[in-house]
């Protein structure tokens, strides 16, 4: 339940499809998180690279954590360019109970920001500039830089 799309996400359709897919699964809470490209720093948009093999493993490990609490997670992300006010990211939790859903969406989104192998670039004057200062080194980074 990891969906990658070229370009911007069709948010209403994805939210509708996910809601309807779980309509009779007896989940009491559905919490999507939708991330949209904001106008700041004179960008015309953002662009994304994704390394899918590790993203899939990371997502599968979260799906197991969710399952242990009776919940499920769905996620959609854009590859390539996403322009101002378009959306590039949706994560959603379905859970029988609201407390689990509220905790899980927060933990998932924060770990996504820290760990998911996705790289962000600002689109500015036809250039694609790596957003290093807004990026986070994955836990365990730097081992190849230590003199041994």
């Amino acid at each position: 339940m990891l969906y990658l799309y070229d370009g911007a996400l069709d948010v209403p359709t994805i939210l509708k499809n996910w809601y309807e897919a779980e309509a009779t699964s007896n989940y009491g809470a559905y919490i999507p998180f939708v991330g949209t490209v904001r106008s700041e720093n004179n960008i015309s948009g953002l662009s994304f690279d994704i390394y899918e093999p590790i993203l899939e493993k990371w997502f599968d490990s979260w799906q197991l954590k969710a399952k242990a609490k009776g919940a499920i997670i769905k996620m959609a992300h854009s590859r390539g360019d996403v322009m101002l006010h378009e959306s590039s990211y949706i994560a959603a939790v379905f859970s029988p109970k609201r407390r689990v859903a509220l905790m899980l969406i927060e933990e998932f989104v924060e770990d996504f920001k820290a760990s998911a192998p996705i790289w962000k670039y600002d689109l500015k004057q036809n250039k694609r500039i790596y957003a290093l200062e807004r990026s986070t080194a994955i836990s365990g980074s730097g081992i190849l830089g230590v003199f041994s």
Partner: protein, 73 residues
């Protein structure tokens, strides 16, 4: 032969190296001045599993990936 891939913003072609462990890889990559910052802030995966130490033996056909700082969403 081991394949080394540089992901995301690291603008470098993959390498094919005859190495036996990650320590050897560290020595080789540290000679490339253009990589020095990336080595400090990148994570390392062997066959798409992240590793936390250089004490990893490598075998023929292994794939190593360097993952620079991430920012999804």
């Amino acid at each position: 032969m081991v394949r080394v891939e540089f992901l995301g913003p690291i603008q470098k072609k993959p390498l094919e190296l005859e190495i036996k462990n990650l320590n050897e890889l560290a020595h080789i990559l540290q000679k490339d001045k253009e990589l020095s910052e990336w080595l400090q802030n990148s994570a390392v995966a062997v066959n798409d599993t992240l590793v936390n130490s250089l004490d990893v033996e490598l075998k023929d056909g292994d794939k190593i990936s360097l993952l620079p700082p991430v920012c999804g969403g």
